[in-house]
Every structure is written in structure tokens, then in C-alpha cells.
């Protein structure tokens, strides 16, 4: 009988979620979106420019023909649009960004000027992620990063690739690779603690995992926290008030121009 009570309560307390047709109200979305993280990696640095969209799942519109420069106080780097990737602007050569410099982004597009400044803070080493094996033999990640860290806020990316694992070579690469983000912030939120269920990503033994840790300035951490609050943490039973994400860009542009020190580690699942 008690089991019945338990089941009954689980049924009652488990909120039901269903798809619904919802007509969004119209807004002014003719807004420039900037996505860029300069790093200390020896690589071509990029700035991605798009426009906001009106509808859910609408493809982002690339912004072509913009003039993009980055100044580090000593030099100005002119970025040019990648002909293969509209809206993606790249430095002409690899650029290693460093702690101690301030980077200023200047964008000129359609007669409007946009700017942002950022800087980089150091990053410390990290503990490898944790994963466990499920009864079906596949693996799932249990923890990438501590959700709370008073000392150091950071963003983690985890790239998983099992496209070369025997038995998976012929499967569509879209189903044999994954990129996951995780974060450590210096504060906790109720909607983070009671975040909604996430998609499960299961991978086989032999999967190659590249884990990176990005340092975050307080401003960049605030921005990313708002982003995950509006995306990953949204939709649980203890939601917070919705609000726009902050930005360090001028002229009503969206997104963030950030800079991070990066450390990485590669492991193979055995």
C-alpha cells in the first residue's frame, strides 16, 4: 500500500511537460550578435557575427561585409571574413593572446559602430571529468566541473568523438561526436540546483575526449551565467525570472567579446 502512495505522489509531483503551439510576440530583433573568445592558444582567432532571429530554430543570419579589428594596445589586427564561413571573421595569422593585455574589438557594419573591451585572467589545472559505465555497456559523464567554485570561475568544453571506434565508423558523424559545455561559478542559483533534466549523451569505450578549461573574467562569468540561466537551467520546477543577458558590447549589440586562458587534456575512454 505504501508503494502505491509513493507512486501516486511521484505522479502528482512530477510535473507534466508537453509541446504547445505558442505565437511569440514580435520584437525588434535586427540586432548584431557577437560571439568571440580570444585565447592563449596558438591559433587563428575568430569573431563570429550574426543577427538575432524572430523564430525559435530559425537559422542565424550571418553578418557579412563588416569591418572588424582587434587592438591589444600595441597592435591592431584586421580580421577578414572567412569565404567558407560567412559571418566568421579571422585574424590573418595565429595570435596568442596573453594575460595582462586589454583587447578592444571594433566592428563597423552598415554605418553603425560597435565596440567592446576584454582582458584575460590566468587559468589553473583541472581535474579530469568523471564518467561511469551503464548496464548497456556505454558510458555517461557524471561530472565535468564543480558547479561552485569560490576561487576560480571557469568554462569547460568537452569534445567527445567515437566516430573511429570500431562499429561506429559508418554512422553519421553527427551522431558520433558531441560538444558539451560546463561551468564553475562563484555563486549558486536555485534554478541551477533544481535544473531540468538534460539530454543524455552515451558513448562507447574508445571514445576520445578532449576537455578544455577556459578562465573567465567576472564580467564574462556573469554573461555566461545569464546564458545558462536562460538555456540549460531554464524550465525546471523552480525557475527564476527571465531576463536578457548582459553584454560588454556597445550599441545594443548582443553576445560577448571574451578572452580566456585555456588548458586542455585528452583522454580515451577505456
Amino acid at each position: 500500500m505504501k508503494q502505491l502512495y509513493y507512486i501516486l505522489f511521484l505522479l502528482v509531483l512530477t510535473a507534466c511537460e508537453k509541446r504547445v503551439d505558442w505565437q511569440l510576440q514580435k520584437g525588434d530583433n535586427d540586432l548584431l550578435v557577437v560571439e568571440s573568445i580570444l585565447t592563449n592558444e596558438n591559433k587563428i582567432q575568430t569573431v563570429k557575427l550574426t543577427k538575432a532571429v524572430n523564430e525559435i530554430n530559425a537559422a542565424p543570419l550571418p553578418v557579412s561585409g563588416a569591418d572588424v579589428t582587434i587592438n591589444d594596445g600595441n597592435s591592431t589586427y584586421v580580421l577578414s571574413e572567412d569565404p567558407q564561413k560567412p559571418g566568421v571573421y579571422t585574424t590573418a595569422a595565429p595570435l596568442i593572446c596573453v594575460v595582462g593585455k586589454t583587447y578592444e574589438l571594433m566592428i563597423s557594419y552598415n554605418g553603425e559602430n560597435y565596440s567592446a573591451t576584454t582582458y584575460m585572467v590566468p587559468v589553473s589545472r583541472f581535474q579530469p571529468l568523471k564518467y561511469i559505465q551503464r548496464p548497456d555497456g556505454k558510458y555517461v559523464i557524471t561530472q565535468i566541473s564543480p558547479p561552485y567554485s569560490r576561487k576560480e570561475e571557469a568554462m569547460y568544453t568537452v569534445y567527445l568523438d567515437w566516430s573511429r571506434v570500431p562499429g561506429y565508423e559508418t554512422i553519421d558523424k553527427g551522431k558520433t561526436r558531441a560538444l558539451i559545455y560546463s561551468y564553475s561559478f562563484n555563486s549558486l542559483s536555485t534554478n541551477q540546483i533544481f535544473a531540468p533534466e538534460k539530454e543524455t549523451i552515451a558513448f562507447p569505450a574508445g571514445t576520445v575526449i578532449i576537455q578544455k578549461k577556459y578562465s573567465l573574467t567576472p564580467e564574462f562569468a556573469d554573461y555566461l551565467k545569464a546564458v545558462v540561466s536562460e538555456t540549460e537551467w531554464k524550465g525546471g520546477l523552480f525557475d527564476m525570472m527571465s531576463a536578457n543577458t548582459p553584454t560588454n558590447l556597445s550599441n545594443n549589440a548582443l553576445g560577448f567579446f571574451g578572452a580566456s586562458s585555456v588548458v586542455s587534456d585528452t583522454i580515451r575512454v577505456r
Binding site: 532571429v53 533534466e197 545569464a226 545558462v228
Partner: protein, 879 residues
């Protein structure tokens, strides 16, 4: 309009002025309504006594005569045809050397010239006492006492005491209370008299119609929503749990957050602006299971009063409403046991006399049905415990000791750290002493404590948890002085101490985790109010409440500048006062009795709130929100409410119609910057933004409180807006609880002597909600773009509940009474959403947040709702 701004807080002139005005005002003369111009005919040659009796019969004028000085049997000759009473009295008095004077609605006959030597007023005497339930000895709150000859009356105060002062004479006193048989006492009032009466509960014969007592005009201002436990039990309940707080949503102007929520919003006030009192002690989170159930069981409740405005001055501390719950006192006559066995919980009540008519006890316990074994596997457990001792020392002294304890425990198993979970605890303790100094002066002295504790158990095995605590201790005295039937004074003093732990982690965590400074406050309140009857039709209640609020050490206070930056840090020693607020809450209300059945009412009141819930949640459930006090960075919230209304009884007094409109402005309202850090943030004050809110609305309520068909229909139209710095670009926006239309039906119908049918239907406009007007992409995530706050609305909320009570007793003869109660919650399975999401995708038949940003997952528009159709049954017994 700020009547007592901070910069003027050193000056007490308004209080002194009001106090002086209150004390002096009762000496003002009052208009008398004795109509001496009325034309009557009277021809007689007989005794003065007979003549006066005849005049009285024809003109409804009452006469008073001192029989020791005037022989009322002396003969008088009079012949009057259609002459005024004045003319006749002149003739009579001139023959006998007498004179007449109009005093206190009576005509006093005295010897000529006597009034120059003596006070004109006839002697007055006071009838006082209390009114009890005959079966249990419970004091009845709000019972009516009316002197039929003068149509003057009073009601018992919250402690069952009444006092009415009348001129010397013979009176028929009628004692009445809804659901009880009337009692008539005939008295010759020539000295102060105590009448302690008991009313028997009415045993209603089937189809009997109850005629309501005429109460109109006895009390100025808006009547509170008032109901007894039996009223709540006649409503369908979720899973058979009849609810006090949730039943409030059937009244216009009180809106629930939604299914599964104990949050409610009153006249545009926020969820933390409602004060819930149990035996005068505050309860900060009156919910179980995150809000699916509210804390108090109806069997433990004697009386509930809900104030949306015109809040009595002895109560305060919240802007919008007060839910004043008085628990049962315990049967003074005989032992009683009752209970309810339901799906969600079982309830048991035991009561009885320890010493008959002197000392009684009452104990009630509700416990959820899930058990400790299940809890160990993860699950839910909650309980409510009420205890009360009631000692009547003598007719002038009564002492109560009551306590409430309610706890929730919710845990899920954790693999490495032991259980993870949440629990919260509300507990109160009240010691009350009612003392009657004399037949005009009554006092209630109370000491109460209250504690609310919320724990987030992070690792049960390691003893790691987050804890929030608020405790309160109060010593207060309320005095009621019944000066005369036209003037009653209420005054008192209240000393409070508060302690706040706004959320800290236990030991065993990283040393870098910040400590959130704990806060201490002491508060003193003085209040004074008067009820004043002016003539037969107009009554006024006015007064003021003066508050001193002092923040004290030990604590650390971070002082913010206008840009929300820290400008100074105070390290305050224990007991040292570092910030003080002084404020005044004036209130005035008036009612004008149009006739015996209808009344016009209007009022103004200022309310203040010094503690606030830091909650940016839009969830219907109780979460990790913390209470914090006003201090250097947080001004006390203030509200000014203006209201006016009309009420009428009709249909042989069986129906009551009331209409009320209000306008409320609220100052120093709290919101939060976008995406605030409210959890474990010692600088949480930096996250706050302040502004104003305003609400207005109109409410209609049609009640049929008795009869075979009982119930009410309510409708309200209301709006509430906010304007807060930095929020919504500084533009006004509707609050999330802005729900313009509300329509409610709640009825019970006695189908037969054994079957009673119950139903309620609730409709409200959808809550305001913020939805995206666009999206942008960052790091593979679809990030919403919002044009403005609360730009959209959830679908309208509506729900039908039905129920039935089947009496298992065929007759009323047996002492063991039992019945079954059947409920169906949300009969037509309305899916009332409380959230809309635009960030999830379908994966293996589930709706989840996408993780793999390489997938370009197609996002869905989704809505979350709770509670489909839920049937339930409970077995209830009593003996």
C-alpha cells in the same frame, strides 16, 4: 504620499496629535435622533405612567424616569389630536411641575430645575461577559449582543469578551452567532452586570432555512473574510485535504499562484506581503510538500479572519493582508476524539477537560502517509501538530498555552554523499493571558515565539547542509476600553525581537565559501484606535500605529551607495543599534448605514513591512528564498490603500451582496537586477532594485451563508503594475500576479439528510509571463531575447472540483458520528500551465534540455503543468 518620511522621523507630533485627538474626541456631542415633532393623538385622564407608555407606543420614543423622585402614578389630563410629541410633553410637564430632556436617545423626565443641579445624563450601567459554545465551552469570536429596545449592539472581541454600556432601564438582550440558537436575556439594568452566556449549536432540520442575524452597522470599515472550520470542510479538497489557505482563492481579490502552490496574492500585493498568524504568532511558510498542501488542518481551527484592508491596528507588519487563525481551545465539558483517514495524510484530534469548566486540553496531529522506511529510499514526509491548554482561572482571568509545529522532509538517495534533500520547519509557541479589569476594560497579554527553518541537505552522510532561519519573540498587551456604546478604544504595546540567518552553509565546506552576516532587530509598536458611533447610521474607526525598528549587532553590514556599490563596511558589536526607522501607520474607516440591510463603507490605511522575502522565483513552489530585515540598504515597504464599498442583505436576510473598490500605492518595492545572485551572497543587497507598485480593482461577492444551498459567487477585476529602477528599462510593467479577471463559485447543497454535494469552480486570467520575442546564438545555444518584462500571458486558469459528503449515521442519536468524503480535483482535467519553455528538445520520448551543441537540436515550445484529474476519498469520524 509619504506621511512620515525618514527625514521627519525625529518628530513625533503626528502621533501626539492623533493620540490627543482620539482621547478628546469622545467628549464631542453627538446628534440625537429622537423625533419630538412626530404627530400623535392621545386623549386621557390617567396616570403619568400610562401617558408616557402611550406616547412611546405611538412615537417609538423611550422615556426614563426616576421613580424615587417622581410619582409616575399621579394623574394627568391630556387631549391631543394630531399634535407633536413636544406639544404633549409640554402640557404634561406643566401640569406636574416636571421637565423633559433628550439624552442618549431617550427622553428623561425630571423635576423642574433639577438638571441645573445634577448631571443631565441618566445613570448608565455596563453589561459585560463572554459568550461560549454550550457544548464545548469554546469562546465565540464575533458573536452579537443586541439590546433590542435601543437597537444598540456589540460583538465579542477576538477573545470572546463583550461589553456594552446602556442607560438604566429594562432591556431584552439578544445573543446570537451564526450556526447557533439565539438566546434572549431580559434584564433590569440598574447596576453593572456580568452575563456569561452559552449558545447551543443549532441542529438544523433538513430544509430548514437559517435567517441571518442583522449585524449591519455594528462595526465600521470593511468586514474581514470570516469563516469557521466547518465552512472549510464543506469545500472539496485536493486529495481529501481540506485547506484553509487554499480555500481563500474562492474569495474575490485573493489569487492563488496556481496548482500545487500555497502562494497567494491579495489586491496586488506580493506573496511575502501576507501575514499568517496562528494564535497571534507568525508562520513564515505555511506549506507542505512545496505548497501542495497548506499547513493547518481545519479540525484544529476555531476561527479564521482574513483582512484585505481595514486591518486592526493591533496587527501589522505586512502590506497586503492578514490571515488571523485562532485554534480551538479544547472541550471544557467532555472528552472528544475525532479523526480523518485520507490518502495523503491521517489526522487525529483529542480534546477534553482536565478539570471540567476550568482546564482543558486540545491536541491535533496530521501526518503524511509515507513513513520512515520510504523516506530512507527517498520520499516525502510531513506533519502538523497543534497543542493547547486552556485554563479559566475565574471569570476575569483565563490563560492559554498553545503551540504549533509543522515539518516537511523531502529526500532523494545519493550514491556517494548519502541523502540529498530539503526540509523545513515552522514552530510557534503562544502564552496568552486574558484579563478583565472591570466591565469596561479588557486586556490580552501575549508572549509568543515563532521559528522558521529551511535546510537544503547537501550530504546527509557528511552533515553538510545550507540553513536559513528566522526567529521572532514578542511580548505584547492589547487593551480594549468600552467607554460607552458609542466609543470603544483599543490600544496596546508590542515589543519584538527578530533574528535572521539569511542562508549559510554548515561546517565541512570549502573555507572560501562566504559567511552571510546574520541580522538582529528589535522593534517596539504602540497603537491606539477608537470605534466611534455617531448617531444611528455613521460609525468611524480611526487610529494609528507607531513603529520603532532598530537594527542591532552583532553583525556586519555592507553599506551601499546609490549605484549599489559598497561604500562602507560596519562591524557592529553585540547589542549596539546601528540603524533606526520610526514610522506611523494611520488608518481610518467609516461605515454609513443606509437602512437595516445596506451599508456604505470607505477607508484609508497605511501599512508597513519591515521584513521581506528575497525571491526572484516565478515558481509556484516554495524554494530557497530567504527573509531579510529592513536596514540601511533596504527601506521598509509602505503602502497606502483607499477603499470604498457597499454591502446589502436581501431575500429575507439570506443573501449578502458586497461590492468594494480599492486603489493601492506601494513604495520601496523590491525587485532584483537581471539574473541576480541571491544565494550565498554576502553582498546580496547589491542585487536589489527598488521602486513603486500600484494596484486597483473592484470586487463583487454574493453569498448565501446558510440554508440547504450554501455558497458564494465572487468576481474581481484588478490590475497591478510596477516601476522599478533599471528593470524593464525603467518602464512600468505588470507584476507576474497581475491577473485581471477572477470568477469563483463555491457551493454546497444538502441533497438529503445524509448526502451533501460540494463544488467549486475557479477562473482567473492567465498570469503575466516574460516570453522571448527573438533568439540569438552563442556557443551553440539558442539564447532568448526579451523585448519587455511580463509581456505575455499564460493561458487562462480554470478548474472545477466536486465532492460529496455521505453521512454514515442514519440518525443523530449516536454519539459516534462518521462520514465519508469524496473529492474529485480538477474534474475536467484542465491542464493549467505555470511555465512556458523555449529551450528543450525531444529525446527518446522525453522533453529535455539539449546538451550536444553539435546536434543543432530542434527546440520545442513547451508548457509545464501539474495535477490532472485526481479523485480521493477520506473517512472522517468524531465522538
Amino acid at each position: 504620499m509619504i506621511l512620515f518620511d525618514k527625514k521627519y522621523t525625529r518628530y513625533y507630533h503626528p502621533l501626539i496629535f492623533i493620540a490627543f485627538f482620539l482621547f478628546c474626541s469622545h467628549f464631542t456631542s453627538q446628534a440625537q435622533k429622537v423625533d419630538l415633532n412626530k404627530k400623535i393623538s392621545l386623549t386621557a385622564d390617567t396616570s403619568l405612567s400610562y401617558i408616557l407608555d402611550q406616547i412611546s407606543r405611538q412615537s417609538d420614543i423611550l422615556f426614563a424616569i426616576n421613580h424615587e423622585q417622581i410619582n409616575d402614578q399621579q394623574k394627568v389630563k391630556i387631549a391631543a389630536t394630531n399634535e407633536s410629541v413636544t406639544w404633549i410633553l409640554e402640557k404634561v410637564c406643566s401640569q406636574l411641575g416636571l421637565q423633559y430632556t433628550v439624552v442618549e436617545k431617550q427622553v428623561i423626565i425630571s423635576r423642574k430645575g433639577e438638571h441645573k443641579k445634577k448631571d443631565l445624563k441618566p445613570p448608565t450601567f455596563t453589561v459585560s461577559g463572554n459568550i461560549k459554545d454550550k457544548a464545548t465551552g469554546d469562546l465565540l469570536i464575533g458573536a452579537v449582543v443586541v439590546a433590542e429596545e435601543l437597537t444598540q449592539g456589540t460583538v465579542t472581541n477576538p477573545y470572546g469578551f463583550y461589553s456594552i454600556t446602556l442607560p438604566e432601564g429594562n432591556y431584552t438582550l439578544e445573543y446570537s452567532y451564526l450556526g447557533y440558537d439565539k438566546r434572549i436575556e431580559t434584564i433590569q439594568l440598574n447596576k453593572d452586570t456580568g452575563i456569561y452566556t452559552e449558545l447551543p449549536e443549532r441542529k438544523l432540520a433538513f430544509r430548514e432555512v437559517v435567517v441571518m442575524p442583522t449585524l449591519t452597522g455594528i462595526s465600521p470599515g470593511s468586514a474581514p473574510i470570516s469563516f469557521k472550520a466547518i465552512t472549510i470542510e464543506e469545500m472539496p479538497g485536493f486529495m481529501g485535504e481540506t485547506e484553509i489557505i487554499k480555500s481563500l482563492q474562492t474569495f474575490p481579490g485573493i489569487k492563488s499562484h496556481g496548482d500545487g502552490s500555497v502562494f497567494f496574492y491579495v489586491r496586488g500585493g506580493n506573496k511575502d506581503q501576507n501575514l499568517v498568524l496562528i494564535d497571534e504568532a507568525p508562520v513564515y511558510n505555511p506549506s507542505h510538500l512545496f505548497g501542495f498542501f497548506s499547513s493547518f488542518i481545519p479540525e484544529a481551527i476555531k476561527d479564521v479572519k482574513v483582512y484585505k484592508n481595514d486591518i486592526p491596528l493591533n496587527i501589522g507588519g505586512r502590506l497586503s493582508s492578514v490571515i488571523d487563525i485562532k485554534t480551538r481551545e479544547g472541550n471544557m465539558k467532555r472528552f472528544g476524539f475525532q479523526g480523518s483517514l485520507g490518502i495523503a495524510s491521517n489526522r487525529f484530534i483529542v480534546e477534553g477537560p482536565i478539570k471540567k469548566d476550568k482546564l482543558s486540553y486540545f491536541v491535533s496531529l496530521r501526518k503524511s502517509n509515507f513513513g520512515q522506511k520510504l523516506l530512507e529510499r527517498g520520499g516525502f514526509n510531513f506533519h502538523d501538530l497543534n497543542i493547547k491548554l486552556n485554563y479559566q482561572i475565574n471569570e476575569n482571568n483565563r490563560v492559554y498555552l498553545s503551540g504549533y509545529n509543522g515539518k516537511d522532509d523531502y529526500r532523494v538517495p545519493g550514491s556517494e554523499t548519502g541523502h540529498f534533500g530539503i526540509n523545513w520547519l515552522n514552530s510557534t509557541l503562544t502564552l496568552r493571558w486574558n484579563h478583565v479589569f472591570n466591565n469596561k476594560l479588557f486586556s490580552n497579554t501575549t508572549f509568543h515565539t515563532s521559528k522558521y527553518e529551511y535546510n537544503l541537505i547537501i550530504s546527509e552522510r557528511n552533515g553538510q547542509f545550507w540553513n536559513e532561519t528566522i526567529t521572532n519573540g514578542t511580548l505584547k498587551t492589547d487593551l480594549n476600553y468600552y467607554y460607552n456604546p458609542s466609543n470603544t478604544f483599543k490600544f496596546g504595546i508590542n515589543i519584538n525581537g527578530h533574528f535572521f540567518n539569511p542562508g549559510n552553509l554548515s561546517k565541512g565546506f570549502d573555507a572560501g565559501i562566504p559567511f552571510i552576516p546574520q541580522k538582529n532587530v528589535r522593534q517596539a509598536i504602540l497603537y491606539l484606535s477608537t470605534n466611534k458611533q455617531i448617531g444611528d447610521k455613521l460609525s468611524i474607526r480611526y487610529g494609528a500605529r507607531f513603529n520603532i525598528w532598530q537594527n542591532t549587532g552583532p553583525t556586519t553590514e555592507y553599506l551601499m551607495d546609490s549605484q549599489h556599490r559598497i561604500e562602507d563596511t560596519l562591524e557592529v558589536e553585540s547589542g549596539k543599534v546601528y540603524h533606526t526607522y520610526r514610522n506611523l501607520e494611520p488608518r481610518i474607516s467609516a461605515s454609513y448605514k443606509i437602512d437595516s440591510f445596506s451599508t456604505l463603507k470607505a477607508g484609508y490605511e497605511r501599512t508597513l513591512q519591515y521584513i521581506q522575502l528575497l525571491s526572484n522565483s516565478i515558481s509556484p513552489f516554495t524554494t530557497l528564498d530567504v527573509w531579510v530585515p529592513s536596514g540601511p540598504n533596504i527601506q521598509p515597504q509602505k503602502a497606502d490603500q483607499f477603499s470604498a464599498g457597499y454591502s446589502r442583505r436581501f431575500g429575507k436576510n439570506q443573501f449578502e451582496l458586497s461590492a468594494e473598490a480599492y486603489y493601492k500605492r506601494m513604495y520601496d518595492q523590491i525587485e532584483f537586477r537581471d539574473h541576480p545572485d541571491l544565494f550565498l551572497n554576502p553582498l546580496v543587497d547589491q542585487e536589489l532594485r527598488f521602486g513603486k507598485a500600484w494596484s486597483y480593482g473592484a470586487e463583487l461577492l454574493l453569498k448565501k451563508p446558510a440554508g440547504r444551498l450554501k455558497g458564494q459567487v465572487g468576481y474581481s477585476y484588478s490590475r497591478v503594475f510596477k516601476k522599478i529602477e533599471e528593470i524593464n528599462k525603467g518602464k512600468r510593467y505588470p507584476a507576474i500576479y497581475d491577473r485581471p479577471h477572477q470568477l469563483t463559485f463555491a457551493f454546497s447543497y444538502d441533497l438529503s439528510e445524509r448526502w451533501q454535494l460540494l463544488t467549486n469552480w475557479i477562473y482567473t486570467s492567465g498570469a503575466a509571463i516574460t516570453t522571448p520575442t527573438g533568439f540569438y546564438y552563442y556557443g551553440g545555444k539558442s539564447v532568448p531575447v526579451y523585448e519587455s518584462r511580463n509581456n505575455d500571458r499564460l493561458p487562462d486558469y480554470h478548474r472545477l472540483d466536486i465532492g460529496a459528503i455521505f453521512n454514515l449515521n442514519k440518525t443523530d442519536e449516536k454519539r459516534y458520528r462518521h462520514h465519508l468524503k469524496f473529492n474529485i480535483f480538477n474534474v475536467y482535467g484542465r491542464k493549467n500551465p505555470f511555465a512556458l519553455n523555449f529551450n528543450k528538445t525531444g529525446s527518446h520520448g522525453k522533453i529535455v534540455v539539449p546538451q550536444n551543441v553539435l546536434n543543432n537540436s530542434q527546440l520545442l515550445n513547451t508548457q509545464i503543468y501539474l495535477l490532472g484529474t485526481i479523485p480521493s476519498i477520506s473517512y472522517n469520524f468524531k465522538f
